[in-house]
């Protein structure tokens, strides 16, 4: 367990991640500080990948249990600690999807209540249906493209950080972002085309 004598000397809140990781190998308080720093970020990531709060809580706790279980073997290779956590989260979410064999849609009512940015004018003009459709389309993208959008817009990470997590260069991230937007536009366009006859039928009461 933890060593009280060492803990008294450590200033956890001021310490950098790399230092905390070293301490966390034999000090649960140091791990607790790392947890405090990253729990919300990991939760956000998992929430958008799973689509509901229940599974997000379950998987977030698994991420931290796994991190705690393996932190003794963690070696600093110049990659941020957060990248290591995101990779654990990414693998667990991938297993979760594989186990379930399906991809759930984000429950919009939860999402809107908890996450509506009231200061963003786009959010006001965007109808609920459009938001739902956009979220559903994002979830149709390949895993790496979803991951990129979440790390950029939800986690607000720099391109270097995203590159470290996804094990790609910044140039590759740039191209991937462009391709992601293009494929998302195609998906939305296809949905629009498919829904047009339906809308027309409803309009004319057929």
């Amino acid at each position: 367990m933890s060593e009280p004598a060492n803990q008294a000397q450590h200033d956890y809140m001021e310490a950098e991640d790399a230092q905390l990781v070293e301490w966390a190998k034999n000090d649960t308080e140091a791990f607790g500080e790392l947890y405090t720093r990253y729990v919300q970020k990991i939760y956000n990531y998992v929430y958008y990948r799973t689509g509901n709060h229940h599974d997000a809580e379950d998987l977030t706790s698994r991420v931290f249990y796994r991190a705690l279980g393996h932190i003794g073997n963690y070696t600093d290779r110049g990659v941020p600690f957060s990248a290591w956590l995101y990779r654990i989260a990414h693998n667990l979410v991938a297993n979760w999807h594989r186990d379930r064999g399906r991809k759930k849609v984000v429950p919009l009512e939860d999402h809107i209540i908890s996450g509506l940015p009231f200061d963003a004018p786009e959010a006001i003009t965007e109808t609920q249906e459009e938001r739902e459709r956009l979220l559903a389309s994002i979830r149709e993208l390949p895993e790496d493209r979803q991951q990129l959008l979440l790390l950029k817009f939800v986690e607000r990470l720099s391109n270097a950080e995203i590159g470290a997590i996804m094990d790609r260069t910044e140039g590759a991230i740039k191209s991937l972002y462009h391709r992601t937007l293009l494929s998302l536009r195609t998906i939305l366009q296809q949905q629009e085309d498919e829904s047009q006859p339906e809308k027309r039928r409803k309009r004319f009461g057929l």
Binding site: M1, Y35, Y48, A56, T60, G115, L149, R156, H178
Partner: protein, 138 residues
């Protein structure tokens, strides 16, 4: 200069602009006019649709907060789970994926059934011998 050079250059410019725009959206400091001034070789029609789409994505993908109860409960559990070497068998098992748990249960069940079968063999053999003896006496 070959046509491919212009095409690649333009592609590069589009990628640079899109990512710079995404960074600005994430920071909440979008100044589209200033941004577009830096990419004079691009026309509005080349990027307009994608910039608008990025703004929509940014407005939909917003931060969500886990419940305070969950955060504090998990912190409590983690601090009491101990260090890696102290993590107990059941604690580790609880946090394996359902598929792994099922596989472990199946292997465990099959092993147990095998042991029971092997262990019970002498008993059945004994019962069989006695039955044979009785039949022989009769």
């Amino acid at each position: 200069m070959p046509f491919s050079f212009f095409r690649n250059h333009s592609q590069q410019q589009i990628e640079d602009l899109l990512l710079a725009h995404a960074d600005a959206l994430a920071d909440g400091s979008v100044d589209l006019d200033t941004l577009l001034e830096q990419y004079t070789t691009l026309t509005a029609s080349q990027v307009e649709g994608l910039l608008l789409l990025a703004e929509r994505i940014s407005s939909v993908l917003t931060e969500v907060k886990p419940s305070d109860t969950f955060v504090s409960q998990l912190r409590y559990e983690l601090s009491h789970a101990g260090l890696p070497e102290d993590l107990g068998f059941w604690m580790r098992l609880r946090h394996l994926s359902p598929r792994t748990q099922l596989a472990a249960a199946s292997i465990g069940g099959a092993t147990l059934a095998g042991v029971v079968l092997i262990a019970s063999r002498p008993l059945w053999e004994m019962v069989g011998i006695r039955r044979n003896r009785r039949t022989a006496i009769a």
